[in-house]
Subunit: 210 residues, 2 copies
DNA sequence: TTTCTATGAACGAACGCTCGTTCATATATG
DNA sequence: CATATATGAACGAGCGTTCGTTCATAGAAA
């Protein structure tokens, strides 16, 4: 950071990161309209007016936050993206479970901001994300090392099955994390991951035991 | 020195319902902090001050709304509650799917208000709802007409399986309805219900075909 | 019946405060 | 110098809430 020598000097645009961090903290805890620009400036340790050197409006700041997280979320090295690309679906379903858990933990702020957008903006800024959801999963499956079509039952669409598994896991951990319930199934995380994988592989009905 | 009021003749406490209805509309569209008491009074066709004849504070109005919906949601004649009580789990898994769809449609306002609470109040008012979730499903299963333990594979906890099925369906339709994506799996509602039931019964892997 | 009193829903101006945003100004860098 | 960054007072609009008041109605008293 300090590429300049002995003299004290703030890194250029250092306050940008502080503003984004403070806004993320507050928006995720009190929502958009429940957070004031003075709150953000105060937590960031920055003057009120300085926020407007970086963002035209409060909503623009919110949108920038969403964009920043989105960019990070979909990078190939992030847990769920990596798992979707490398997992031999429908083998190793558990791997998708653990990747979902890691992702929800790592990106809980992002997920909460998406909920904020749904609640306070009618999903205005995130609708695009969900509109083409299926094609992302289809691409992941196509690039997958295993031939899913061979191992998935012939009467099941592999893409839909992959989405079902992934979202089941994600929603489970979202409920744990965001709704602040610990073990709402009465199970530890690993046990829940194993249970879901067991059901997804062979079904609930007796006769499908391993 | 007051003005002459234009009083409408109406049933006593008739405005209570109008206030609750307007608040529900607005809170679900703009969130709690994004909705002003003047907005609510205006939409309800009621004076600003009159709101405070019924509710001590704006937050109290919000909490009353949540309580009203909760009471209605858990009545025995509501679709999902009825389905959980009467369905012979794990038979007729589809019935849980259709009941979930009906419930999400009928109670979309309630569900959105729960999200509002999560986003703007840190789940303060709804945490209790989720804390003892498992016991509700366990009770439903106990009162179920079929002996679930006989038909569920021996290595699967029937209560957890019932929760998994129900929440999978609910979360699917919540995403359809609240996030405003139509057919995010690329399937019509009935097809999605059938697909999920198929997977839950016999699993994804080849060899479990019907 | 008529008259009086008590009740509480309804009103909306007003209060004190906070909101998002702007702007004149200051400072430091290059 | 010019440029980028920072400050916080100031602005006007809007906020949740309060409060003095009006008035339709109900019941008691005559």
């Amino acid at each position: 950071m300090a590429k300049n020598g002995a003299h004290k000097k703030a890194a250029p645009r250092a306050n940008l990161g502080r503003i984004l961090g403070a806004a993320s903290d507050l928006f995720t805890r009190q929502g958009f309209h429940g957070t004031s620009t003075r709150d953000i400036a105060g937590l960031a340790g920055v003057s009120l007016g300085n926020i407007y050197n970086y963002f035209g409006t409060k909503e623009e700041l919110f949108v920038s936050l969403l964009a920043k997280y989105e960019e990070e979320y979909f990078r190939p090295d992030q847990p769920l993206i990596k798992a979707l690309a490398s997992t031999a679906f429908p083998d190793h379903i558990e791997a998708l479970g653990f990747a979902s858990r890691e992702t929800v933990k790592k990106f809980s702020a992002y997920i909460l901001l998406i909920y904020v957008d749904v609640v306070e903006f009618g999903a205005k800024h995130v609708a695009r994300l969900f509109a083409n959801m299926r094609s992302g999963y289809a691409a992941a499956l196509k690039a997958s090392p295993a031939k899913a079509s061979l191992k998935v039952a012939r009467d099941i669409d592999p893409v839909a099955a992959l989405m079902m598994v992934t979202w089941n896991y994600s929603n489970y951990f979202i409920m744990e994390k965001l709704f602040k319930v610990k073990g709402h199934y009465g199970l530890a995380d690993n046990e829940a991951v194993k249970l879901f994988a067991r059901v997804f592989k062979k079904g609930i009905l007796a006769g499908g035991e391993k």
